[in-house]
Symmetry: C2
Subunit: 419 residues, 2 copies
């Protein structure tokens, strides 16, 4: 289905949509470079204005002046739980169930191992063959260590698979948004199907948290992990998070038994006794600078209704698809992201054989999206700082770059962008 | 053995030692608070002056302005190897064998598992019953996952144990410095004994790196890990490091198979193919802010001869013991740290029944050391910024605080200091 909007009408429409946008003032919470359209916030979120003063304080006063006393006096020791709770508010987790720290890969390893250990006699770990690579690699590694098998089952086929072999499944580890296509799956349906089979549901929320309301408690999710640097805008390589539903905390039997997760870490005992509550998920000493940066960044969500964020995100990606239909027609692009709002995450993805070179040409023009091999142009929208005018500008540039054949001047290069 | 120095003579001696100290100018490389004696750099190193401008640049320019392009343009992607090599220079590792990232606990888990996997048929993992808790917990966890057994063998008894059961040992994981007593063990003797048995030597260098010359390549060490926030002064919870001797890299079969360690991470393949070289030890996306802070901090070692650092460190701890002998005589203190220089790390430790309260009283007086349960007062010296005058001042304050009974006013509290 293509629309009949003309370029002029699209310009008017983008302006009207922006003028009516209740979230437009949130853009001021970010320090965005001038003259730049940033559609890669699903890879690295933009810099929140609240971050620099906090970082300066952490470096100069907390580290430089207060030194070791900051573990108490500036509450560094409590940061993993405190920042975890701040993430928890965005994913529908009541306090005391979410921790911040380490990378998504590490949190996934810990959670998946602990989850599988709590379902003895069930030999299967499930993951999506389209899941983000680290999720697949870590699942394979955990299976090898625990003597389990991995089955790669697409999320759409999950109900059927579970009906057949559900009682052999220990844990199903899935991502609600396909990081390449932007397709959004139904968290509620999937979670119900997995739990009905007596298996445990683990979600990797990296591409969803902060972009839409998520209700892990309400849905009965067992475990969740996710990264801090996409829609949470926590900075490059920001600490990840781990959600352990309260009912699983007492039995959370993790392999990464670092001393910070000990019931009495400063007793410095030679044997591991895990802490009560989600604190037992802590591993080693966390990177405080990065962790407190994430905390400062999360203040961009203060007072923000995630339902409005989701509505605007859909408006932005929907508008991008409309613009593509109108402006890119006949230029070799295919829309990959589902058009139905309920099936769309917070990115719009176009397929084009020159995707890499076009992304490079766009960057030259001040429009930053990214590419996923082999031929996907990915445009992520963070509704807190992206406008409909940005979207139109991006598609106009893409049209010009394609029409002018600019991609022919761009040497093919694989950019080291981090999803 | 007590000395006959009088307080006045000690003051003269401290001044003379400082005046003759070739490393004295290095203190300017740190931003130390005024009127403060900081003897807890073995727990959290002081703030290097090179850090704040780098952090500001990383936040404002690299993250804020360059955004996602920084993974290439500001070489974020290469940071784990680059910062790893900078650490490698301090531990005698030729380039390409050291990585920075994650916490010591995580690096230890990865290294120990990979090491044990490369010695099939050998059922034992050895560690010291006095090793830092996380080392013991992680060793237990790895043994459980791999179906191995842990034997806690004090380093002094290691040669005898290896003579008896050496061929059953897969990996020996030890720390060269006892984090409580400050005792230093002989890395060369221990490494030789372990390797002669056909086992693998893994050192946790947290309490040694940056405080003395270490030669992992020359000694034939197999693996090493360590933290970045003690003598490396990399900031609170700074990323740790992992050393994998080149001969072990091809077989390094790690459990934390995050996508950053993949041979071609941006091919985003569903199956894990490890990178060549030490890069395969990478796990998830690293906390860039903390990592580049560590990199900036390591510049404090530029042009510094670690043999001089070691000599000064011994002079400082030796002087502390002398001061204690003279000034604390009859006040209930016992010297715990070995007096022989070759057996002394970079801290001096005194036992006192009121250790906790005395440490609190000292902090009130502007002297910061720390305490290890139940009764050890620990004074760490970083020879790059601690002076002999600092040492004398600390011991004088300790004497006064004890004589005046100030510890009675200090409520007992266990401080959340991080070793």
């Amino acid at each position: 289905m293509t629309t009949t909007w003309t370029p002029g009408a699209l310009a008017e429409r983008s302006a009207a949509l922006d003028d009516a946008d209740p979230l437009a003032p949130l853009r001021e919470r970010f320090l965005l470079p001038e003259g730049f359209v940033y559609l890669d916030g699903n890879s690295l979120g933009a810099l929140p204005a609240a971050v620099p003063p906090v970082v300066a304080d952490v470096v100069h006063r907390q580290w430089g002046a207060d030194l070791i006393r900051s573990w108490n006096d500036n509450a560094w020791w409590q940061a993993p739980e405190r920042v975890g709770d701040a993430v928890g508010r965005l994913i529908g987790a009541a306090p005391g169930q979410t921790l911040a720290g380490d990378s998504t890969s590490v949190q996934l390893f810990n959670a998946l191992t602990a989850a599988a250990r709590s379902r003895p006699g069930r030999p299967l770990l499930l993951t999506d063959p389209a899941n983000f690579p680290t999720d697949q690699y870590i699942t394979d590694s955990v299976a090898r260590l625990l003597g389990l098998e991995v089955r790669r089952v697409p999320v759409a086929e999950l109900p059927l698979f579970l009906a057949r072999e559900g009682e052999r499944v220990a844990v199903a580890g899935y991502s609600p948004v396909d990081y390449r296509t932007g397709e959004l799956y139904d968290l509620a349906v999937t979670t119900r199907a997995v739990r009905r089979a007596g298996a445990l549901m683990l979600w990797d929320l990296s591409h969803a948290a902060g972009a839409m309301p998520i209700e892990v408690d309400e849905l009965g999710v067992d475990f969740a992990v996710g990264c801090g640097y996409k829609y949470l805008s926590g900075g490059p390589g920001a600490p990840a998070y781990l959600y352990v539903a309260r009912r699983h905390q007492e039995g959370f039997d993790q392999p990464l038994t670092g001393w910070n997760g000990h019931a009495d870490p400063f007793a410095l005992s030679g044997g591991y006794t895990p802490a009560e509550g989600v604190g037992r998920g802590r591993i080693g000493t966390p990177p405080v600078l990065s962790l407190l940066t994430l905390e400062a960044a999360l203040s961009v969500f203060d007072g923000v209704d995630l339902a409005l964020v989701r509505a605007k995100s859909l408006s932005l990606t929907g508008f991008l698809l409309e613009c593509a239909d109108t402006l890119l027609s006949g230029l070799g692009f295919t829309v990959v992201t589902p058009r139905e709002p309920a099936r769309r995450g917070s990115q719009a993805v176009l397929r084009h054989p020159e995707a890499h070179a076009l992304a490079a040409a766009l960057t030259e023009r001040g429009v930053v999206g990214d590419v996923r091999a082999p031929d996907l142009l990915r445009f992520g929208v963070n509704a807190l700082y992206v406008s409909h005018r940005d979207i139109l500008a991006a598609v106009c540039h893409l049209r010009e770059a394609t029409e002018l054949g600019e991609y022919r001047q761009q040497r093919f290069r694989r950019r080291a962008t981090v999803t």
